[in-house]
Every structure is written in C-alpha cells, then in structure tokens.
C-alpha cells in the first residue's frame, strides 16, 4: 500500500501508470473534495490558469489526461525587458525552442500552454476514479503519522476510519506539509520583501493572437502578462505583478479603472512615471484630489515616444475581471532533503519557488514523474517501493534540479528585482541579451 496526501501534483504521482506496479494499491488522501467541480468564482485559484511546460504536458499526455483538457492557449514567444536599460530578450519557440520531440504529441513548438487549474484537477480526478488500484479517501484529513515500531513502516491516521500502514508515504501536502513534519525534514528559505498580485485582465486584440508572454523588470520587482484562457471568452491575459507589500496593498484596493491605468503604465511608461502614479494612490486605494491618472499616464507615454525603439510591445489592458485581484506573499522554501525512511516529498511540500519563473506546478509535476519512474524501476527489479534504492534514485534525480530552479528564480529576482543598483541590473540584462547561452538557459527554464 502506498499512501499520498496532497494536492494538484499529488494526483500524478499516484496515477502514473507502470505495469511493474500493477499489484500495488495506492491510498490517496485529500482533505478537500477532489471530485467536486469548484464554483468558478473570480479570483479563486481554481479559476486561474497555470502555464504548463512541454515536459509537464508530455507527462499528462502519458497519463491520458492532457488531450481531454480543453481549451488550451499556447504561447510561442516570450519577451523579457528591463525598465532602466535597453536590455531585452526576445525568445520564440520556432527558432530557439526545444525540438518537436520535446513537445506533446499533436502540438507544434510552444514555450508553454495556459490551462485552467480546475480543468487539470478535474481530469486528474477522473483519472483517479477510473484507476482501480487507487483508493480515494476524499474529504479526509491526515490527523497524525507515526512510525511502526515492529516494521518501521509509516502509519497514517485520518480524522476517521482505520489507520493506514504503507510501504511508501508520499507527501504532496503543500507548503505546511504534515508528512515533512513527520519526517523531521527542515524547510529552509526566506520571505521576499515583496508581494505578488494576480489578476485576470481583458486586453485589446492587437492582431497577434495573444501568443506572447511579457515580462518587464521594474526596480520594485518584475511584472508579467501571460495569455489567459477563459472558458468561452477570448482576449484575456493573466497578470502576475511582484512589488513592495505597500504598493501591492494599494494596487489591490484601487478602483478598476485606476488599476488598469497603473498596469498599462507599468508596461509602457518610464520608471519615473510609474513611481509618480503609484505615489498618487492613497493607502486606501483612493486617488489624491484633482489627479487625472489616465491623463498623466498618457502624457508620460507621449513624452517618452521619442525613445520608442519600434519593438513590439504588450497589448493594452482595457479591463480587470471583477474580484480577480488577489495579493499573496512571495517566499522561497527548500526542504533540506526530499526523502526520509519510506517517505518522499513532492511539489510544494518539498519546495516553494518565487512565482517569477511560474514553475511551482511544473516542478511538482516533474517531481511526481521522477518519483513514479524511480519506484517503477525498483519494482521492476523486485525492490522495495519504499526502500533506499527507489528513494535514493528519486532524490538524486530531483534534489539538484529543485535547488537549481529555486536558485535560478531567486538569483534572477535578486539581480533584477531591486536588490542591486539599477546600473547592475541593466548590465545583467544586456548580458542576458547578448549571450546565446543565457538565452538557452532561459529557454531551459521555460520549457523544463
């Protein structure tokens, strides 16, 4: 019996299909209701989209769920530029991307696909339901975990029913993982002095098919606009804006039309304008008397037009979906180990990254894939699925890449995110722009 409490990434670890594991039973424990279609309220995580890289997409395709997830919005370009220098990276999947072999079957080159979270969850839940070897303990909370004295196996007690003894305990239970606590594994890291704001935005149709991810580095942190995917309505983009907590608070409270102007300014205006406009918003989100935000912003853009490089720019934002704005603290956490006796951590239980890289879910899926492969390999050779061979192989496959991704996300955010003088940031950006290797690195992050 294997046992896995957890969220989005969890479904995958457990349902990864290997004929070598056909005689194993999996207990899937979820505190929430896995089978319920969430009410798609604005601003809820379920209603948000995640960017799925080709590697994750292939994994989901292997599980038989990828093709059933519709709609998907591919993006094939990524433009990253700096507000205080001429540094700019323009990356497109056709000329620089990974080869066709790296893409899921039936898809052309893409950097990633935007997919609604609730659809991924729903399809994985269906997969769980049609897999007889998975026993679902739905709406069941893990109450305690102890190690059996006689066998050394973890014994998981739920808030009701019999305790479950398992060969392998997979902790996919998120940031505040109970499994990690049981294993006595430390989670180290820090909180950034930044908050992220997410929002769903209506954008003007600029005739390009909304195929590009945009990211601009501001002194206060990066702002990113990704194509979004809504059930029936085209022309939406998804915003992730990392900034100082005080500014984030104002942005969350500001009136919709003010917020839209500030977003446009953050992408199109010089930094001085953004600072000025930000300072006109009061702590309660209201505007200082007599200030015309829209007018100031467009005047600033007119004035800066002389320096216009003629490069393609993000589409203009024309509206924000009601209640879709939400702030959240940015943090980085990494567990000192991903494995313990008969225990493995995957997803956010193992690591939490800066959303700059947009890799939280993808990292979790990669963990799940690696763990499934390690366990299957061990089973093929008659090994213990919770034994040191299987877990050692998983840790070797993932610990380094988890730490590397975190370091990369953290490194970039430190270089570009306002922690070093803007001069240096400009140099960093120019370096990125000038170096084919740096571009390749960026591509690797984007298509992990």
């Amino acid at each position: 019996m294997r046992c896995a409490p957890g969220g989005l990434t969890r479904c995958d670890a457990t349902s990864a299909k290997s004929p070598f594991l056909a005689n194993k039973t999996i207990a899937l424990i979820e505190a929430g209701d896995l089978m319920r279609t969430p009410a798609l309220e604005s601003g809820t995580f379920a209603n948000r989209a995640s960017s799925i890289t080709p590697g994750s997409a292939r994994f989901l395709q292997g599980l038989g769920v990828w093709d059933a997830i519709e709609p998907k919005q591919a993006y094939t370009r990524m433009v990253v530029w700096d507000s205080e220098s001429d540094g700019r990276v323009d990356f497109d999947a056709y000329s620089h991307g990974a080869g066709a072999a790296a893409m899921p079957e039936g898809h052309g080159p893409a950097i990633a696909w935007m997919v609604q979270n609730h659809l991924i969850q729903h399809q994985l839940a269906e997969c769980v339901a049609r897999t007889p070897s998975i026993v679902l303990f739905n709406e069941s909370k893990v109450h305690s975990i102890v190690r059996s004295e006689s066998s050394g196996l973890p014994v998981v007690s739920l808030d009701r029913g019999e305790p479950i003894e398992c060969q392998l305990l997979v902790g996919a239970d998120g940031l505040h993982s109970k499994v990690r606590e049981y294993a006595g594994i430390e989670s180290i890291g820090w909180d950034y002095d930044q908050h992220g704001i997410v929002a769903t935005l209506a954008v003007e149709d600029d005739g390009t098919g909304n195929d590009t991810a945009w990211q601009r580095f501001l002194p206060t942190g990066p702002i990113a606009l990704l194509p979004d995917v809504q059930q029936l309505a085209p022309g939406y983009s998804s915003l992730v804006w990392s900034t100082k907590p005080a500014i984030a608070a104002k942005l969350t409270k500001a009136a919709p039309e003010v917020f839209v102007e500030l977003v446009n300014a953050a992408f199109h205006n010089p930094v001085a304008d953004i600072d000025f406009l930000g300072s006109q918003v009061q702590a309660d989100g209201s505007i200082a008397d007599g200030v015309d935000i829209a007018g100031e912003a467009s005047w600033g853009r007119e004035r800066a037009r002389g320096q216009d490089s003629g490069e393609r720019m993000p589409p203009r934002v024309v509206g924000v979906q009601p209640k879709s704005r939400a702030p959240f603290p940015l943090r980085l956490r990494n567990s000192t180990s991903y494995v313990y006796e008969r225990t493995a951590l995957i997803g956010d239980a193992a690591h939490t990254t800066h959303p700059l890289a947009g890799q939280g879910l993808n990292l979790g899926l990669a963990d799940a894939r690696a763990l499934a492969a390690s366990v299957s390999d061990a089973a093929q050779a008659g090994g213990d699925v919770g034994g040191a061979d299987a877990l050692g192989a998983y840790a070797a496959a993932r610990f380094a890449s988890g730490a590397a991704m975190l370091a990369a996300a953290d490194g970039t955010s430190r270089v570009f995110g306002g922690l070093v003088p803007s001069q240096l940031r400009g140099i960093g950006m120019r370096l990125v722009n000038g170096s084919a290797r740096a571009k390749a690195l960026l591509a690797a992050v984007a298509s992990a």
């Binding site: 019996m1 005689n23 060969q167 089973a379 034994g387």
Partner: protein
C-alpha cells in the same frame, strides 16, 4: 606478481584510464566480505562435508529473545544501504533484471505460468537461492512472485534473513513466499528437491570444488529449467583490483577474503555446465559506474567486457 602485471591490458595500467576500472574492481571486491564471513563459518568449504541440521529446524522456534535482538542488529547492518554491503545492494537491480530478462527470453513453455504478470513475472515458479546470505536476492525474487527457497549453510545468515523477511508485511501478502533453510545444496539433492530455477550469485568462487558445485546445482533444476550464476573472472585485472589493491594495499576488506585461484573463467563455468548436461544461453559482463553508483551490464561489443564480474544463464537439458 610480475607475471600478472605483464599480462595486464595496457588500458588498465595507463594512469587516468585505470581509475574507473580500479573503482569498479575494488567495488567488486568490496561487494564480497559477507561471503568471507559465511565461508569462515564453513558455509561452502567444503560444500559436501558440511553436515547441518535438516531443513526446517535450523530457523527454529527455539531461538531466545536475546538471539532475536542480536539477529535484528545484524540484519540492520546487512541491510543498511550505505553500510558495508552497499556495493552488493547496488548490484541487486542488474542481477534481478538479468534473471527477469533471461526467463523472458529463453524460458520455454516449461517456465511459462498462467499467473505470471509484469508486476509478478515469477508467480508460480519455484526458485532456489543458493547461498542466500541475508536475503538480498531472495526478497526481490519473492516480490516478483516466486516461491523461493533461500538456502545458506550459515545459521546466523538464515536467522538474519528470516528476521528481515518478517519485518516487511508486503512480502507476507504474496503471491510470493520465502522459505529460508539452514542447509546445503547437497542436502537439498538428498531430499530430492526440484526447482524451476536455481540462482547462485557471487557464491561459486567461494566453494572448494566448483565443478561439483555446478553439477549439484544442476541436479536441483527440473529439465528445461534454468540456472543463473554470477561471479568474478580469473584475470590479471581481477587479481590486481580485488586482491592486491582492495585487500593488501587499501585494506578495504580483510586479507584473505578472496582466493584468486578460486576465481572462475566464463569458459570454465560453461564447460562445467555442459558436463552437467546444461546448455549455456548467455554470458554478460557487469560493470560498476562509480559516478552513478550503479551496476550495469557491459555491452558485449566492449573489449574485455568479461574481464571482471560476469553473470551467466544456462538451461538444463531434458536428457
């Protein structure tokens, strides 16, 4: 000594080039001290003269609580993945996969069982693990569905293996099972035991009369059944690395762990098998990659692929 060095292939003497092989060979040497231990207790030296209790009694119930404690501790040492048997642990996947592959490739209708699945390919097969030690091979065979008899001439090994076997409830659930016996190959022949497959891994280099040992093993296999042996070749390289380096210079394992004269060449093993009415099917080299810390089969096209460790499969002929 000089004679051995003179015979060494140049690649092994070249500085740098020899590093990987050195570690590999030393690894092979290190994978073996448990056998030295079991031999010291008379496990297979000489096989025929070991008179032990009949099967069944050896792992008996008369063992007291102190003993069980002691066996548990020894079992923990045996099974510590980073302990003294680390290299033997790491050798397991390649050896077990080899057994799987050979049975799939060459196991005729005699070895085909209706209940076999990919997850439990050995379901319904009766397999003898001769020289089972702490149970490294018996347990995987059991997980893959086999009805295993694990035989060892050291009573302590049998106690250790049994203790460890009882710790994992998944093994008890089946479909496989393990019957550990404090006995010898000869006694099993006397008892007219018959198996679908006999595996003798890293054991033949420790017996006094390998030719007789092969014959004894073959008598335990049903016609059309299979035998799997793994061991170390008798080459200058294996002398240099397993005895000179690992024992005398580095002292990684006690002096006297190995006797180079007892190492067996693949040609010799194949000859003994044919003399015992068995048909060799495949022989493959095994190499240790110190970076990946794993053993793999060495490609047959690689020169010197059988220079060190190798594994071999044979079929018992009907006649």
């Amino acid at each position: 000594m000089k004679r051995f060095l003179a015979k060494l292939p140049s690649t092994l003497l070249a500085p740098g080039a020899c590093k990987g092989s050195a570690v590999r060979a030393a690894a092979a040497a290190l994978a073996r001290p448990h056998l030295a231990a079991s031999c010291a207790r008379g496990a297979f030296t000489p096989v025929a003269s070991v008179h032990t209790q009949p099967a069944g009694q050896a792992a008996g119930s008369s063992v007291d609580a102190d003993e069980i404690q002691r066996f548990s501790r020894t079992a923990a040492e045996w099974w510590d993945p980073h302990g003294q048997y680390e290299l033997l642990h790491r050798m397991n996947p390649v050896r077990i996969k080899y057994v799987r592959d050979m049975l799939q490739q060459f196991g005729g209708p005699e070895l085909a069982r209706a209940e076999a699945t990919t997850a439990a390919p050995f379901a319904g097969l009766r397999i003898l693990d001769i020289g089972c030690g702490g149970g490294f091979v018996s347990e995987p065979l059991c997980r893959l569905g086999a009805t295993v008899v694990g035989a060892d001439a050291s009573n302590e090994n049998i106690q250790v293996a049994t203790t460890h076997y009882r710790r994992d409830p998944a093994l008890a659930r089946g479909p496989g099972s393990i019957d550990y016996r404090h006995t010898t190959a000869e006694s099993l022949v006397e008892q007219e035991e018959q198996f679908d497959v006999v595996v003798a891994l890293e054991i033949i280099e420790h017996v006094n009369d390998p030719k007789q040992f092969v014959r004894t093993c073959s008598q335990l296999v049903k016609p059309e059944g299979m035998l799997i042996f793994s061991t170390i070749n008798r080459t200058p390289a294996s002398y240099l690395f397993t005895i000179l380096l690992a024992e005398h210079l580095l002292r990684w394992v006690p002096v006297g762990t190995h006797t180079h004269d007892k190492y067996i060449m693949p040609e010799e093993l194949e000859l003994y098998l044919k003399m015992a009415g068995c048909q060799p099917l495949d022989v493959s080299g095994m190499g240790y990659n110190p970076l990946l810390k794993s053993w793999t089969l060495v490609s047959k096209s690689q020169p010197g692929n059988l220079e060190m460790n190798y594994i071999l499969a044979a079929r018992k002929s009907i006649l």
